[in-house]
């Protein structure tokens, strides 16, 4: 290529200046694209980091450290027979046996040289349960594995306090420690000792709250969506309803909590921190989400369906309830599940209506004071005791599994049933 052609005109494509400029523009292009990729990658890396962090911490929460304790039951219980602690009088017999005292004695006999709390507070209850499940244990010498105190638990899993570390290494040399699955975590309730806590109570509270929410928000949401999309005349009232719904969908959740506090608790005098009030509050929050999803689903049913039904003599109500609603239902359900998932993870409004108390038992009814899964996570995260860190993460794992499951169900429903007209 000669100089003459290269610099013929400033706009010549093969000119040197032009080539340089194009190279620069292409570099800018690649840079821009890389920035876009970086943005997506950063978000996903953050998500991955969050999830792996929770998983790394939380999986330990499903495990517990157990210690071998030898029980010489015939000696300890002065020869109680299996028959005595089974049958209808088992409860009374076990009470008079003083299981906690027996456990204390057995531990003192075996690990007398370690004068620290070895077992968790719930250990005696575990022994009692084992005896109920299998009364014949009481007739012989047994080695039982019992959960250790939270300080030792933390020290055995990773780094704990120096004193606890020493105890643990001494016990580990005797081969007295092992790691087992923490069933208590799935079946128990809140406790002051992190090695005795469980999420069942909070989970049941969440389920009951969600049941109330679903029972209220779903019918009201669907009916409003049908009304607004199918029947509402264009007038002031309809405009007000639409503005209200769009606004409610964007109101911060804590405001709904304030509403619940002022109206349900203070004005109506409903029971504090109950599943009933929690469900009512979350229903008000979820309803707009269902209405908006429902309207989109109803809107996507083609007019020809309505016209055909009207044409063969169906009344407007029949058209909607016999034809439009069944066709729109998958879309409505998808929106409902997504709304319910959001409600399940919601914490702030529940704190406002008093769901922040320490509740050591699962609720029996809708008006009992209860806690909910996200609230339980918040409460545990506030604890100073190191043992709660892994329990909090473990509870988060349970919550995330449920949320992911619900979202997956929503996606499945959408793909499986949604008709594209």
């Amino acid at each position: 290529m000669s100089e003459a052609i290269m610099n013929a005109t400033p706009t010549a494509w093969n000119g040197q200046i032009m080539q340089k400029r194009i190279a620069r523009r292409y570099r800018a292009e690649r840079r821009f694209k890389a920035m876009g990729f970086l943005a997506v990658a950063l978000s996903i890396v953050f998500l991955g980091f969050l999830l792996s962090d929770m998983l790394g911490q939380g999986l330990r929460g499903f495990q517990r450290t157990e210690i071998a304790v030898d029980f010489d039951f015939p000696a300890l219980t002065s020869g109680t027979t299996a028959a005595a602690i089974s049958g209808p009088n088992a409860d009374a017999a076990l009470n008079s046996m003083d299981v906690p005292g027996i456990v204390e004695l057995a531990v003192a006999q075996q690990y007398g040289d370690i004068n620290e709390g070895l077992l968790t507070a719930g250990a005696a209850g575990n022994v009692r349960q084992m005896l109920i499940d299998n009364p014949s244990l009481v007739t012989s010498k047994q080695q039982l594995w019992l959960p250790v105190d939270s300080r030792l638990d933390v020290a055995f899993k990773r780094n704990g306090e120096p004193a606890a570390e020493q105890t643990v290494s001494a016990l580990a040399q005797k081969d007295a420690l092992r790691t087992g699955f923490n069933w208590t975590f799935l079946t128990g309730a809140d406790a002051t000792d992190p090695s005795a806590v469980g999420i069942w109570a909070a989970f049941k509270g969440s389920l009951m709250t969600m049941a109330i929410t679903l029972m209220l928000a779903f019918p009201i949401g669907v009916l409003s969506a049908l009304y607004l999309e199918e029947y509402a005349a264009k007038n002031k009232l309809t405009d007000m309803i639409e503005v209200s719904i769009n606004n409610l969908a964007a109101v911060p959740s804590i405001i709904f909590g304030l509403l619940g506090l002022a109206v349900f608790l203070s004005l109506f005098g409903m029971p504090r921190s109950s599943a009933l009030v929690g469900g009512l509050t979350l229903a008000l929050m979820t309803m707009p989400v269902i209405v908006i999803a429902g309207r989109n689903a109803v809107k996507s049913v083609p007019p020809s369906i309505r016209e055909a039904a009207l044409g063969i003599g169906a009344s407007p109500v029949q058209v909607v309830f016999h034809h439009v609603l069944p066709l729109a239902l998958p879309g409505i359900l998808t929106g409902t599940i997504i709304g319910m998932a959001r409600a399940l993870g919601e914490t702030a409004p529940l704190l406002m209506i008093g769901m922040r108390a320490f509740i050591p038992a699962a609720p029996e009814g809708f008006t009992d004071a209860t806690t909910a899964l996200p609230v339980q996570i918040y409460l545990w995260s506030d604890e100073v005791n190191q043992g709660f860190v892994e329990k909090t993460s473990a509870a988060i794992i349970v919550l995330l599994i449920f949320l992911l499951g619900m979202n997956a169900l929503a996606i499945y429903l959408r793909n499986r049933f949604e008709t594209r007209w």
């Binding site: 292009e29 876009g36 943005a39 009916l223 409003s224 964007a250 405001i255 509403l259 995260s381």
Partner: protein
Amino acid sequence: MTGTALLFLVLGLGLIGWIAGRARAAAFVRSAKGGPRGTVNSLPYYHGWFVAICAIAPALVFMFIWQSISPSLVTNMVLSAPAAADLPQEGFARAAILSEARAIAQGFQVTAFQGESERLVPLYKGALAYYKWIGVAATLSLLFAGGAFAFTRIKPDFRARSKVERVVMFGLLVASLIAILTTLGIFASLIFESWRFFSMVSPFEFLFGTEWNPKSVVTPGADNGYGAIPLFWGTIFIGAIIAMIVAIPLGLMSAIFLTQYASATVRKWMKPILEILAGVPTVVYGYFAALTVAPAVRDFAVMLGVSNAASDNALAAGIVMGVMIIPLVSSMSDDSIAAVPSAMRDGSLAMGATKSETIKQVLLPAALPGVVGGVLLAVSRAIGETMIVVMAAGYTANLTANPFETITTVTVQIVALLTGDQDFGSPHTLAAFALGLALFMTTFLLNYVALRVVKKYREAYE
């Protein structure tokens, strides 16, 4: 008989009414066969619904009304008894005795702490039982009267369908009105409680004061430590500045990448993964921010030489909140970029502009209103966010622009003020409502403007 049992009884009787009505109408249909066609106006099950509605609706309405008026009837009956004549006249002590006696009579409480209430327990028991049976009897007689009335109306030419459909339409309307009721309820409760608050603490101090250190006993006219400026600043600093510095570039760039550059497969996988960020509960973000991000930020600050870096610093809360907002910004930008007519994009590409030049100089300027609307929505979402800041940002009011210090926000203080069993009329509780009102108004305004901007912009290209 408890309220729940009565409710189930009413519903069960309604079901029987439905079956009876339907059966009666079905009998007409059978006898009409062979006779002239079309003598039965409505399908049998509409008659069933008609009977059920006529039976249940008045009974339920009565139950609801009775539920709210019977307590005062019971109290009146107890007070009119001679044993209640020597109760203290002073309102507070009197109310305490009455409520205790009532709680014991209903079985909520076992022992009496006040001597007088013990005496009133049998009175309360009697009155409660008396009015309960009146309520049950009235409910059931209304139910049977309504059912019988409807049942006698069933005739072959009775227009059951149109009657039932009218009720259905009414039900639809009522369901829609609940949204308005909720909005009004929020408005009324916030304004009412805030008004009570401002009768104790001057609005001037609340809106312009710079010291937040709320006292539980207020003296009118004096400075009570209810200056909310530090809270407003903290909210703006964390939610509208730090979070947006994270969320706007990341959200916008990921929207651009996913819509303009990524292949269909990449988009199909990346988009749902991004959406997961929006589905993670805020309490999880809060825990992550407090446990992992905040210590890292503090160490980073110490490395930079900031000695007073707090462990509950504003930056950690802001960053995590920004990440939470990314999907919102991304999907709003995505929508508005997609709404730009493709003629504009094609024209620019045809002129020889590269893709990035087209995006930067044609698509983004055209989509700007939509993007701005999305950002406004994101800000409104961020300033109303509670759990992340409660767990990660701390409780100390601090008027500072140093992101490594601890800063509190409006939502954190609402939670803090309502912590503990406080009396509903205390200034702390009421201040929470005043803060709630400020938050509600701000987010309402932001949402309104954002939706208007987005709508106007959509119309411009349609």
